[in-house]
Amino acid sequence: MSHSHDRHIRVAELARVEGEGAMHVTVTDGRVDDVKLEIYEPPRFFEGLLQGRMFTEPPDITARICGICPVAYQISSINAIEDLCGVEVTDPIKQLRRLLYDGEWIESHVLHVFMLHAPDFLGYDSALDMAADHRGLVETALRLREAGNALLEVVGGRAVHPINTRVGGFHRAPRRRDLWALVPELEWALEEAVGAVRLVAGFDFPELDHGHRYVALRPDPADQAPGCSSYPIDGGRIVDTDGLDVPVSSWPDEFEEYQAGHSTALHARTRDGATYLVGPAARFALAGDRLTPAAAAIAKEVGLTAPDRNPFRSIVIRAVETVHALEEALAIIDEYEEPDESHVEVEPVAGVGHGISEAPRGILYHRYTVDGDGRITDAVIVPPTSQNQRAVEEDLALFVQAHLELDDAALQWQCEQAIRNYDPCISCSTHFLQLTVDRR
């Protein structure tokens, strides 16, 4: 079986309904010619669905785009509508939104770190196989996820597709005693999360150094409510590692989506044609100085320094962000006082509103055009997964080039692992790539 000559690696389809897509790698004369990665994009359908809807509806509708990060879609949509309508919310509403988002980061990061990515590094085919030898680790992960889900349920009304969020705030503000009831479990979770950073920092990481530009949000510390850090999560300005610093409304001026030709999904690039990367590594690179104390301490202890350009070490950064989210949640609960009003009233304004927040996987951009009756006439939603797609393809090319000696099954497995570095929504399945090889 020849491995180093012409090879055409085609992934027929992904195994799960929301993971529909394909991967094509072409190798000619021992060099990777081309990598094309197709990822199913649910936002395209929802952009159409939103047209004609009222300006108050995006939080409920867009939450259905993703079962793992519904809060990200809700907050980005709320940011866009409130940007358009000139809304200022109170500190308790800011605290609750941050708590909700912390809950989502916790359950999303824990799922990825323990159940999807750690098995790769520990030499297991799946979390199920890992559970046979590391049952305690899996039980801890499930309990950590439940701690995140508990935050989502108390603040958002339920753990997935939260029903309590709305433009202007929340339908109902949680009682302080309901949040305080979460404290013991969150304190347990914080201690475990610190231990998790030590565990994953000890993994063997393949060497890969990409040169991509990092892009993230950078909040204004003066805008934060009591207990809230200024590490990027629910708002801020857009910054990058090349010195960009612009308001969220400038996203269309600095970045663009384009049809990549081989894919029904849109790709993204900077307006000057560069590839860029969003997500935990970008956040850490651009705002690592704003982590909560325990998160900053454990990051320093394990030798994590910003910027880190090895995508395989993203698992460590996600584990650090889990510590951050837990510590911040405890700080917010300590400061929270029930507001007199759970939301501010918002009147529709005709025009265009822009909103971005930091989904667990990176910046998520929403833009809505609203008419004088408050109806949405146009919607644009750019998820982090599609913004990263070009970077993922380029990194896959590097990775495949360095591992051409592997047979197809091993190469498929390595490619799946490499894609899992970016935690795209397609990677929830242990085996989401079906690799076929055409030999020339």
């Binding site: 669905l49 793992i68 199920l128 046979a132 899996v138 929504c425």
Partner: protein
């Protein structure tokens, strides 16, 4: 016996909503059982499964059988069960077993679907299967005997 019926799926993906719609119907008919139209990641079922003695999971399948075919407690390859955005129900049940979180009785009821489309609405075949499966499960969970429809 503490019983739960859990319907899985995605309301925005055509026939892939079948499990949710079966659960919606059963919630109106069943007493003595908890019914979940479960839109959370399948992995979160690990929190719920240990609370029950008997669980019936309703989901979509793509095994190549004609659209609308109903499988009850089938022997199907795990990859043919169309899990959405998660481990897939087989993976979750295997993990539950490994962690001693599995109820005494677990039953799968699967409805064969075609390629998932965008938006709400079932194909005629799957809509018929929903009615048949709801009637079947209503009878069985009430203690009756019923042949698997179809």
């Amino acid at each position: 016996m503490r019983t739960a019926v859990i319907g899985l799926g995605n309301r925005d993906r055509g026939d892939d909503a079948v499990g949710l719609l079966v659960a919606d119907d059963l919630a109106l008919r069943l007493t003595g059982a908890d019914v979940f139209a479960w839109e959370r990641p399948e992995l979160d079922l690990l929190e719920v499964l240990p609370r029950y003695d008997r669980v019936v999971v309703v989901d979509a399948a793509r095994s190549g059988a004609p659209t609308g075919t109903i499988h009850v407690d089938p022997v199907l390859p795990a990859a043919d069960v169309a899990g959405t955005h998660g481990f897939g129900i087989h993976g979750v049940l295997e993990l539950a077993a490994a962690l001693d979180r599995l109820p005494d009785q677990v039953h799968l009821a699967l409805v064969e679907i075609g390629p998932a489309t965008h938006g709400e609405g079932l194909s005629d075949e799957v809509a018929t299967a929903v009615e048949q499966l709801v009637a079947h499960l209503t009878s069985v969970l009430a203690g009756g005997d019923a042949d698997v429809p179809g």
